[in-house]
Amino acid sequence: MKKLSFIMVAVFFMISASLASASTLEEVQKRDVLQCGVSTGLPGFSNPDEKGNWTGLDVDACRAVAAAVLHDANKVKFVPLTAKERFTALQSGEIDILSRNTTWTLTRDTSLGLNFTHTDYYDGQGFMVSKKLGVKSAKELDGAAICIQSGTTTELNLADYFKQNKMKYQAVVFDTSDQTVKGFEAGRCDVLTSDQSQLYGLRIKLAKPEDAVVLPEIISKEPLGPVVRQGDDGWFNIVKWTIFAMIDAEEMGVTSKNVDEMKKSTDPNIRRLLGLEGIKGKGMNLSDDWAYQIIKQVGNYGEVFERNVGQGSPLKIKRGLNALWNKGGIQYAPPIR
């Protein structure tokens, strides 16, 4: 028995050693294409458009990494993954990055051999109510009938929230999110609950979207962000700093449109961001203009957000928690220097 477990440990170490030996950066550069795992379809996060190009916030995270590493945001091979196979695809090396609305939790971060890089979307469970109820806050929902999709953590969060606030509710449970919307529309419940990013998508599916509002409260923490394999710190840094660079660019007001003019800027922060002075790309083994390429080809964080899920998209999700730290949100990136 002892021998067996020893062999298993040895095999495990051999596997992890072989994983660590090949640097993902070198592999990606040799292949000249980035392999990115995305969702098979989630409005605003990853979905194919009419021409078959993948678009969305999760998709743009990968395109940004490709811009930094390969100087071409289009050199990405998107691998649509279901929720069940996503971690294996990353562990087995089928993809280099997993950018698939994956919630950062202790279990996933510590026991799957994965590393979460940075949160590029702070999600959380919210409520949608019909306007005629006149409800302004989730605290006023005592006694409400709530439409919910069965078998999700949403159910658990809801029960916890109402218990904490000593309120009562009546759950109306459905199997799929489409049925949940139909139930809400038919008046079987006053409230619909789901992750907030999805509520806005569900709202568009209503016959009269303007009759429903999404309440501002969030009752659970669902930080979503790109994930990489554990054991390749260089690659981990690249993905992490790609997201940071996009957030820093927004903070400094550098956009895809003005990035070329900004090169003439005298602000040392901007000059360091665009690789004109400072450490540039050395620490990550990237070219000096890595951040310039990201901003030029994909945009800063604000642009990406507004284009895919915000005011520039049909979803019209407000920035909320995803606003910059100095504008009422919690998106904060370490300085580039």
Binding site: G41, G44, P48, D49, K77, S92, E94, S313
Partner: protein, 364 residues
């Protein structure tokens, strides 16, 4: 003397001919049938007009954006703008001709083999089995001067047809071998066949696909990566050949023992007896079963959506997620359903035609 002229035959009572007669005979022949007829009529009147209104009369056909859908009926614009994607997946548009050519060639070859009285059938059959797969691979994947299109760009109906065709292509010969192996008197082939068939029939296809997509990559060495599509195809082919084997074994068992005894008496070898006497008869009896398995396989290919392959159904579903086109899932599903129905129904009609053509002596 007057000659007796028989009175001309009276016409049958008006209630037994024409529309009324037909209705009395077929719709109102007993109180129970009358009730069923009226009930069915009520359902048709109640539900058909709204469906027709939705699908045709009030439907929106013109335009290319969501705003074009204002009439309250079905928004076929959604299907229209995505049609090429539903057909070809992410295949580059300037390379569509390759897919069309590959399927067109297959269509011509199959038609050649199916239509009676075309010359040189055996040559065409050999070409289809030995040469065509290579041509199809080059056309779909690339090589020989054609740019490579990786399998993650394959999708839509094209992928569904590829999965189904390759599945059928392998399932039939493997199925025959397994069925013969299971009925063999040699212990080792028999044991292997039984184990293979029972193992693959004992697990659901969804498990096989899941295994191929999730577990297999973890067991393989780091630098060996087998394409996800290939893994799924191998899974589907092995799974379906086990089912096919059992269908064919049914046909083999239906043949009287005298047939093989007669073949032996003529001095035919085992393979001669099989290919000249036993299999032609056995396969003929199980045509409905074989086609049934093919139809099942065609529809089962939709299960690949759980491993993220973008077949017709799953590409339609991913189109639902486009923020610009949220809320048109019914149209998408109706379209996908229609496409599947057309293919399955044609297969079923062809099998009926084949049965009629080959029914030479068993007809009751």
């Amino acid at each position: 003397m007057s000659v007796h002229t028989p009175h001309p035959d009276l016409p049958p009572p008006s209630t037994s001919v024409g529309i009324i007669g037909w209705a009395r005979k077929n719709l109102f022949s007993s109180p129970l049938n009358s009730i069923l007829t009226l009930g069915a009529l009520y359902l048709v009147v109640r539900f058909l007009p709204p469906v027709i209104n939705w699908a045709i009369l009030d439907a929106n056909w013109a335009g290319s954006t969501r705003d074009a859908c204002t009439d309250g009926g079905a928004c076929w614009v959604f299907v229209k703008v995505r049609l090429t994607q539903f057909m070809f997946g992410f295949y580059p548009p300037d390379q569509y001709w390759r897919v069309i050519l590959a399927f067109g060639l297959l269509g011509v070859l199959i038609a050649w083999l199916l239509i009676e009285k075309t010359p040189k059938k055996s040559w065409v059959a050999a070409f289809t089995i030995l040469v065509y797969p290579i041509i199809a691979f080059v056309l779909f994947y690339g090589g020989l001067g054609l740019p490579v299109v990786e399998t993650n760009k394959w999708g839509g109906l094209m992928l569904t047809l590829i999965l189904a065709t390759i599945g059928m292509f392998f399932a039939l010969p493997f199925g025959i071998i397994l069925a013969l192996g299971r009925r063999s008197s040699m212990p080792i082939p028999r044991a292997l066949s039984v184990v293979f068939i029972e193992l693959w029939r004992g697990v659901p296809l969804i498990t096989v696909l899941f295994m191929s997509s999730v577990m297999l990559p973890l067991f393989m060495p780091e630098d060996l990566r087998i394409d996800k599509l290939v893994r799924a195809l191998v899974g589907i082919s092995l799974f379906q050949s086990a089912y096919m084997a059992e269908v064919i074994r049914g046909g083999l068992q239906a043949l009287p023992k005298g047939q093989s005894e007669a073949a032996d008496a003529l001095g035919l070898s085992y393979w001669q007896a099989m290919f000249l006497v036993i299999l032609p008869q056995a396969l003929k009896t199980v045509i409905p079963g074989i086609v049934n398995t093919f139809i099942e396989l065609f529809k089962d290919t939709t299960l690949v959506l759980i491993i993220g392959l973008m077949d017709l159904l799953s590409i339609v579903q991913s189109a639902f997620a486009d923020p610009k086109w949220l809320g048109f899932s019914v149209e998408g599903y109706v379209f996908a359903g229609l496409v599947y129905w057309i293919f399955c129904f044609s297969m079923s009609r062809y099998s009926q035609h084949l049965e009629r053509k080959l029914h030479t002596g068993h007809k009751r």
